[in-house]
Each structure stands twice: as C-alpha cells, then as structure tokens.
Subunit: 138 residues, 2 copies
C-alpha cells in the first residue's frame, strides 16, 4: 500500500517577485491568490493560488539566507521548486525511506515547516531532480 | 471566478530513464506505478504514479525529436517539467489568456495531447519559469 505518496498537499513555485506573480495569476487566470505572508523563520514569503484539488504555493525569497536563493540564482525567472506530499507519520515515513536508501536533507530530523507542521525534504538526486517535501498532517 | 486554474490534472516529472524511476518510486514509497506506455507521436514514454488527488506523470524521452530533449540536456538528472490544469473550453481559455498578454507555444491552435484530449502549452517566461499545460476535459 502506498501510504506516503497519497496526497499532494501543494506544488511550490519559486518566483523572483511575489507581487508581480500574484498579479499575473489574478489577471491571466482570474485566479484567487492569497495575500503574501512573510515567514522570516523560513526565509520565504508565501502566497497561495486557490485550486480545488491541491494548493499552488508561490514562494519568494525573504532575507539573506533564503533556501530559495540558490534556486533563483540558477533559474532567475523562477520555476517549479518542489512537491509536498502529506504523510500520517513522518518518522515512520522517514525511516522507511532511509531504509530504502533515500537521503533526507539536513539533520534528518523533521523541522517545523511553513504551515506549522513537521516537514522533511528528500534529496532531489535520489528522485530524478525533483525536490520532495513530506509534511505530517494529522 | 477562476475557471482555468481549478483542477490540477497532473504534475509531469521528466526522468532520464523511466524504468529506473518507476522502480525507485515503487521501492522507496511503495507507490503504484503504471506500466510504461510509449507515445511515439508525442516523443515520450509515460507512466503514472497513483495519487489520490491528482496524477504524477513520469516522462522519458522517446525518439529523436522528443520535446523533453532540451530539458534533459539542461537537467540531466531530470526534474519537474510542467503542471497540467483542466479546462472546460480550451479555446475560450486560450482567447482570454492571449487577451491578457500570455503567449501560447507553437501555432496557438490546440493539439491532441498524450491523453487524447486537446491541449495547449503556455510560455514559461510568462509564468515565472513554470511550463503550464491546459487540457480540455469534458
């Protein structure tokens, strides 16, 4: 049974300027985009595009140590940054993934993510260039 | 009302080798991955990872003129390739997008996509490096 890849919580898109991106999504698609929310502890400002079956998260770097800095240095226009899957038990998911040979970024311990829930990121080299976030939802 | 960005049909991930990627997703996540399906007319071989709320499409180049060739030349490990949104009327969506200044790739006319439905791609430069596919579902 697949209990890790069951639900895409969000698709994160890095953008160089969040107000410009939010305006473009509103004007081009008549989309509903939330007000930008600065998250200084995470080095990002975030806004959500309303979608029925998942979330689109627009991310702009915030501060000097943003985790988006290197991505935007490589992709100055922005681009698709990561996919976040919901998991029921992040420790169990991590342990099974590590047993299968996948690498977890950072210390290996979950941190509290931008939505206030425990998160981990998997090494994109282990998943063909796609950065995967796991977020514990319960 | 947002009638274009309402439902993510799939998130497409380009991979250099589909069998390797499918095996990794099965082994690491205990995911269900469909058998690879060659689509020579589209220059891709495709497999789907089963997810509850959307689809993850793994794409491998097929043939000499694959639309993935330049992406994989730039990203040899693979990476996140595009997001596909469902639309009810692709001509109406296209016309509104073009009126808002967005560029449609190719001739501007819908083609029949990998799932047998009319599709269009929007220029990633107009959406901050994210390639957006629109697929008419009705």
């Amino acid at each position: 049974m697949n209990d890790v890849l069951s639900w895409v919580n969000h698709i994160a898109l890095a953008v160089p300027d969040l107000n410009t991106a939010a305006a473009r999504y509103r004007e081009s698609f008549a989309a509903t985009v939330s007000e930008p929310q600065p998250l200084p502890d995470h080095g990002v400002t975030v806004a959500f595009v309303t979608i029925a079956n998942t979330k689109i998260e627009l991310l702009e770097p915030l501060g000097d140590k943003s985790p988006l800095a290197s991505f935007l240095a490589k992709n100055p226009d922005g681009g698709m940054h990561h996919i976040c899957y919901e998991v029921e038990n992040i420790i169990a998911a991590r342990d099974r993934l590590m047993a299968a040979g996948a690498r977890v970024l950072g210390s290996g311990e979950p941190t509290i993510g931008a939505h206030g829930k425990p998160v981990l990121f998997l090494h994109p080299k282990d998943f063909f260039g796609t950065l995967i976030e796991l977020e514990e939802i319960n």
